[in-house]
Every structure is written in structure tokens, then in C-alpha cells.
């Protein structure tokens, strides 16, 4: 099946607006300009991080290149009281949740397992185990329901949860169990699947011969398929799904059709399993270009704004280069912190052992 026969699109690849009877965008020029800025900056962030990995400053990095619209459009639909659970690739979501790009690097540089304060940003850390966090998101959403933070209609009170994962994740038992629990308890969770066409080297058809969004109906929730490179459409469908969730109408599955323009991670070599043709095709569907074309046509975006933005991007990159190198290495003794709430005899003994080794080393 061609994955592009049917999805919600409000801005086509040429940057012109498409009428859609079902979904209208509420975004004004200023909002769209802000989205444009977000996308340009997270792409910069992504490229800078990739460069830092090449320079040996990071152990690994998972590029989001090509998925800016899917991440920005959806995350900008969230409200502050909402909560999100993501994979290792949702730097754009972290950006929208107010995480400092330098903070994001901690995980990849290997100075911390969780890059940022989850409670502060209401965003769980990067999850590497495919699918596992969809259940955490569902449970968190159940919590909102049990705490009467759903369907009250009170602005800022009702909560929803976003669960981000990829096309490959759709095959994991945990994802499907998350669908079972979310529908069984009508939990206010939105499952946001970025179908970027690849799970490392495996194309989406290895996971499913039918559109992934079709899975939703089988579990008893609405599913919507959206052009994941159309930030306007992504925002519109996510807004609706989040509103459904907050108002107590239960979960939704969104399949955002997009493309992983880069490697799976900095240790991956896509030339081994995919040819340039697709890359070519998808460069024509670039999420940033089409919005740029539109905004320039509308006269909202001009050279001054663009050069200002590129200056901003450059200083962001600069701040990342410096901030990354300045990230403090963990104290070796922190090995033993936070294994348990209270003290533990084994752990304490081992801490003393390492402390002794370290002081020896200092002596020598």
C-alpha cells in the first residue's frame, strides 16, 4: 500500500494551504512563525549534537533530522499541566517542554542516565527500551483520571499525556498492552507514533502490511493519520486528540507519516540498507522548507527575520559546543547514590572500597 494515499494534510509540499472540512487550524501568523523558529532551531540543535558526537564529545546521538514538524507540531499542542513520555529521538519535544539543549546532551555524553528534571518539565527522560514507556504514559494518565483531573472542564486542570514512539515500536507487546489498558480505563493518553519509515534497517512493512493507524480501531480508539511533515496538520490533529483526552473521552492513536532523513544513530550506516532515491523523494517533502515557502509568500517571513534566526541558531550551536565540554563528569562515588531510598550495607561497603581505590590513585 502507498502510505500517502490517505492522511490529513493542511499545508502541501509546495507550501500552499489545503482546505480540510474536518480539521481547521487555529494558528495565526505569529504562531506559525514561532513554529518555524522552533523547527529551525531544533534542526540546528540536532546538527550540532551530531557534530559533537563526531568530535568524540558524545558517545552517541539519535538525529531527529526530518521529524521536526511531527515533534514541534505535536508538542506545541500540549499544555503545561500535561505530561509526555518519549523515546531517545524526541529532542524537539524536549525543546518544547523547555529543556535546555545542553541538558539534553548529558545522556548522550554519558554523564547522567536522565538528562533533565522530569518533574520540572513534566517530561520523562529519554526511554531506550522500545515500547516500555507507552505503559508508563498510560498509567500516568490513569492516575490523572483517578485524581479527577480529567473531564472537569476547568481550564488548566484537566490533564492529558503524550506517549511518543516509532513505527517499529508498534510490534512490541508493551505498546499493544498500552492500547488495551488505555482503552479499558479510557485513560487520557495520546499515542503519537512517528512513522519515519524505518526501524534502524527495517522498513515499516516489516512490522505491518497495513497502515499502522488501522491498529487503533481494533482496540476501540479513534486513529488519525497525518502528514508528519506538515506542522500545521500535526498541530491540529494533536490538539483535537489532547482535547478529547482531557475532556474524558479517552485515548487516540495518531500516526504521523514522516521520514528519518539521517542515520538511525551516529553509529548507523544507512547506505547498507536504503538507497538515495527515497532520501531524494523526502527532501522534496522537507517539513521546514514548505512552511518557509508559505510564510514568505504570506510576507510573514523576510530576509531580516531569517538572518536574525540564523544568528540565533549560530549562538545556540556555540552555546551547545561550550556547554557540552563543560558538562561536569560524575563523581565516581555517585556510582553508589540512589540505588535505594535508605542506606544499604553492601552498597556502603562497596562505596568505601572505591573511595579507597580513588585515594590510592591520588597518592600514586
Amino acid at each position: 500500500m502507498d502510505q500517502f494515499d490517505s492522511f490529513v494534510q493542511l499545508l502541501d509540499t509546495n507550501g500552499s494551504i489545503i482546505d480540510n472540512p474536518r480539521y481547521q487550524s487555529t494558528l495565526d501568523a505569529a504562531a506559525l512563525l514561532a513554529f518555524y523558529r522552533d523547527m529551525v532551531l531544533v534542526r540546528q540543535l540536532d546538527q550540532q549534537a551530531t557534530a559533537l558526537q563526531r568530535q568524540g564529545e558524545l558517545g552517541l546521538w539519535a538525529p531527529l533530522l526530518g521529524q521536526e514538524a511531527a515533534q514541534i507540531g505535536s508538542a506545541r499542542a500540549m499544555q503545561s499541566q500535561d505530561y509526555a513520555f518519549t523515546t531517545y529521538r524526541e529532542h524537539g519535544v524536549a525543546w518544547c517542554r523547555g529543556v535546555d539543549p545542553v541538558e539534553m546532551l548529558r545522556f548522550w555524553r554519558g554523564t547522567m542516565h536522565q538528562s533533565w528534571d522530569a518533574n520540572l518539565h513534566r517530561l520523562y527522560g529519554y526511554q531506550v527500551i522500545i515500547g516500555a514507556h507507552a505503559l508508563h504514559a498510560t498509567g500516568y494518565a490513569m492516575g490523572a483520571r483517578y485524581s479527577k483531573r480529567v473531564g472537569t472542564g476547568e481550564v488548566g486542570r484537566d490533564q492529558a499525556v503524550m506517549a511518543y514512539f516509532g513505527d517499529g515500536a508498534m510490534s512490541e507487546g508493551d505498546i499493544n498492552e498500552a492500547f488495551v489498558f488505555a482503552t479499558a480505563y479510557q485513560a487520557p493518553v495520546v499515542f503519537f507514533c512517528q512513522n519515519n519509515q524505518w526501524a534502524i534497517s527495517e522498513p515499516t512493512k516489516r512490522q505491518s502490511l497495513v497502515p499502522l493507524v488501522q491498529r487503533a480501531d481494533g482496540f476501540g480508539m479513534p486513529g488519525v493519520r497525518v502528514d508528519g511533515n506538515d506542522v500545521i496538520a500535526v498541530h491540529a490533529v494533536t490538539m483535537e486528540a489532547l482535547n478529547r483526552a482531557r475532556s474524558g473521552q479517552g485515548p487516540t492513536l495518531i500516526e504521523a507519516v514522516t521520514y528519518r532523513m539521517g542515520a538511525h544513530t551516529t553509529s548507523d550506516d544507512p547506505t547498507k540498507y536504503r538507497d538515495g532515491a527515497d532520501d531524494e523523494l523526502w527532501r522534496g517533502r522537507d517539513p521546514i522548507n514548505r512552511l518557509r515557502t508559505y510564510l514568505r509568500a504570506e510576507g510573514v517571513l523576510n530576509d531580516d527575520l531569517e538572518s536574525e534566526l540564523s544568528r540565533e541558531a549560530e549562538s545556540l550551536a556555540e552555546r551547545m559546543r561550550q556547554g557540552c565540554r563543560e558538562l561536569p563528569d560524575p563523581d565516581p562515588l555517585s556510582l553508589f547514590d540512589h540505588v535505594y531510598a535508605g542506606p544499604d550495607a553492601r552498597i556502603d561497603e562497596q562505596r568505601r572500597e572505591v573511595a579507597a581505590i580513588l585515594s590510592q590513585e591520588r597518592v600514586n
Binding site: Y140, A178, A345
Partner: protein, 327 residues
């Protein structure tokens, strides 16, 4: 003093935990109207409602995974895994997610989740209903693993587990569920002995028996029989499999010079080996004999018609004691 069997004591303990903290939720298969296949949650849904005693869909990974989310939201989920043999589908969520949340987040997040599980064999049932998976969990950093052996511990330890800010694997000795005991339910939770301390059940000078869960009763039988022949066995209920209360074990072994660990789980890779190795490391010169193990054998759990040949009994324990004394 109230007379309660072990499963009633768990039930009462859970009720009290729910009364004292409105954030405590129960989750699991068939725990609502049915009250669980062993009735450990009997009456609790009626009393606390469907939002606090939650019948879960039939998916263990889903139960533990959603409990993680609920805990992050601020709840204290208490999960019932229906039988030991059905915990494995949730293994990833337990050892990778539950066990590591605090460490991974450098203390910012933690999961006060209790995972209750009937464990051990000897009930004459079919495959997968008599397992002893405790070593998998006891060897996982970040988890606490405790086992109760009598009604008093069942009543208090379940409350301590629920109150703990660490995730706790709470093992209940299935085949002793109907063993009665006198419980002083009026005592205060803060004053009862902590669940991480082992308990000397019988004092003795010749050899130390170390058991937990269902084998504590077996060790006590063995001690009685030995006493008739004038052999004084010290019996210790381990209670906590992780962390191990080494001070109590060491003190006993320094006195007796001999130890036999007794559990239903297989010998190889079981908790007994860890205890033996730790004792060797900490009181090498006190050991008059190697620490010995009386355990289930290194096979899968057998058919019920021969499970008695598989499970440790007083005779096998006494043979091991004899062997230990012969060094």
C-alpha cells in the same frame, strides 16, 4: 491478639495500609469481586471501590508498566501477581524499569510499588503453580525482596512493604497460606521489627538453619526432631532476601560454626549460594564446615505427584546437618 492464617493476615494488612494512606491502590487479575484466587484481597473492592482495587486486563507487563505511571503520578500501587509462574511476562518492566527508576533519575523519581506474589510449591497443582523465582529478583539491584513465613510477619511486613519508598517484591508462602497464628494487630507499625532484619526463631549452638517463606516451618520441624537427639539447631527466618541481614547470620555462624541454607528454589544460582559465599567471605575462620544447601534440585519444577521428592523436608535437612557436623 487475633487468630489469623497467613492469607487473612495479608488481607488485614492490606486493608490497614489502604486505610492509612489514600494513595495506596491495589492492581491485579481477579482481585476485585473475586478477591483474588487466594482471597488475599477479599472484600477490599467492596470497601474501597473500583478505583482503589482495580481488576486489570490479563497482561502482567501492562499491570507493572501502568503501575509505574501511577507511581510517578503519586500513587502507591500494590500489585498482585496471581501465581509466581506468571510474573515473567512482566520481567522487563520489573528489572529494567521498576528497579532502576531511582538510580536512573538520580533520586528525582522513585517508585513505591509493592509486587505481591504467592510463591513455592507443594499445593498439588499443575505446571507453573509451584515456582520459586526469588533469586531473579534478589540479584537485581534496586529491588527489595522479602518473604513472610507466618501470620504476624504477613500482617506487618506487607504494611512495611507498602510504606517503603523502594520497590518491594513481597513473597507469600502459598502452601502455608492457611497456617494459623496469633497476631497482635494493636501494635504500632513504627515499633515492629523492620522487614530487613532476619529473625532468630530458635536459639541453638550446634548448627544454624537458614530458611525463608515456606521452609521456615520445615526448619522448625527439623530443629524439634534434632532436639530429641540432643542436637541444638539455631533456626533463622531470613525474612529479607535483598538486602541480606548479614550481621544476624554472621553472629549466629560465629557461634555455631556451621550453617545449612534451606530453600525450595533450585540450588544452582539460588539465594543459598549467595548466603554461603557471603558467610565464607565474612567468617572464614569461624566455619568448621562448608555452608551446605538443602534446596529444590536443578530441574524445572516437577509434576505434583513427585513434588514431595523435590521439596526440602526435615529429613533432608537433618542429613545435611549430620554431614556438616561430620567435618
Amino acid at each position: 491478639m487475633t487468630e489469623l492464617n497467613i492469607v487473612q493476615a495479608v488481607n488485614q494488612g492490606l486493608r490497614r495500609a489502604m486505610e492509612s494512606d489514600s494513595k495506596v491502590l491495589l492492581m491485579g487479575e481477579d482481585i476485585g469481586k473475586l478477591g483474588g484466587v487466594f482471597r488475599a484481597t477479599e472484600g477490599l473492592q467492596k470497601e474501597f471501590g473500583e478505583d482503589r482495587v482495580i481488576d486489570s486486563p490479563l497482561a502482567e507487563s501492562g499491570i507493572v508498566g501502568t503501575a509505574i505511571g501511577l507511581a510517578l503520578y503519586g500513587y502507591r500501587p500494590v500489585i498482585e501477581i496471581q501465581f509466581d509462574g506468571f510474573v515473567y511476562p512482566a520481567f522487563d518492566q520489573i528489572v529494567v524499569q521498576v528497579a532502576r527508576m531511582r538510580y536512573r533519575s538520580a533520586g528525582a523519581l522513585y517508585l513505591p510499588i509493592t509486587i505481591r506474589m504467592p510463591f513455592g510449591g507443594g499445593i498439588g497443582s499443575v505446571e507453573h503453580h509451584g515456582e520459586s523465582p526469588e533469586a531473579y529478583f534478589a540479584s537485581t539491584p534496586g529491588l527489595r525482596v522479602v518473604a513472610c513465613a507466618d501470620s504476624t510477619d504477613a500482617y506487618w511486613m506487607i504494611q512495611q512493604a507498602v510504606a517503603s519508598d523502594d520497590p518491594v517484591i513481597f513473597l507469600e508462602p502459598k502452601r502455608r497460606y492457611y497456617q494459623k497464628g496469633e497476631v497482635d494487630t494493636c501494635a504500632d507499625l513504627s515499633t515492629v521489627p523492620p522487614m530487613y532484619k532476619a529473625r532468630v526463631m530458635v536459639e541453638g549452638s550446634d548448627c544454624t538453619l537458614i530458611g525463608y517463606g515456606p521452609t521456615v516451618t520445615t526448619c522448625l520441624q527439623a530443629a524439634r526432631l534434632a532436639a530429641e537427639d540432643g542436637v541444638k539447631l539455631e533456626v533463622i527466618d531470613l525474612r529479607s532476601l535483598s538486602p541480606l541481614d548479614m550481621p544476624t547470620l554472621i553472629e549466629s555462624v560465629k557461634k555455631t560454626g556451621r550453617a545449612v541454607v534451606v530453600h525450595e528454589a533450585s540450588s544452582s544460582g539460588g539465594v543459598g549460594g549467595e548466603i554461603g559465599q557471603s558467610l565464607m567471605q565474612s567468617c572464614f575462620y569461624n566455619l568448621k564446615a562448608p555452608v551446605l544447601r538443602v534446596t529444590g534440585y536443578d530441574t524445572p519444577y516437577p509434576s505434583s505427584r513427585i513434588e514431595d521428592d523435590y521439596l526440602p523436608d526435615a529429613d533432608r535437612i537433618l542429613d545435611a546437618v549430620e554431614k556438616s557436623m561430620s567435618y
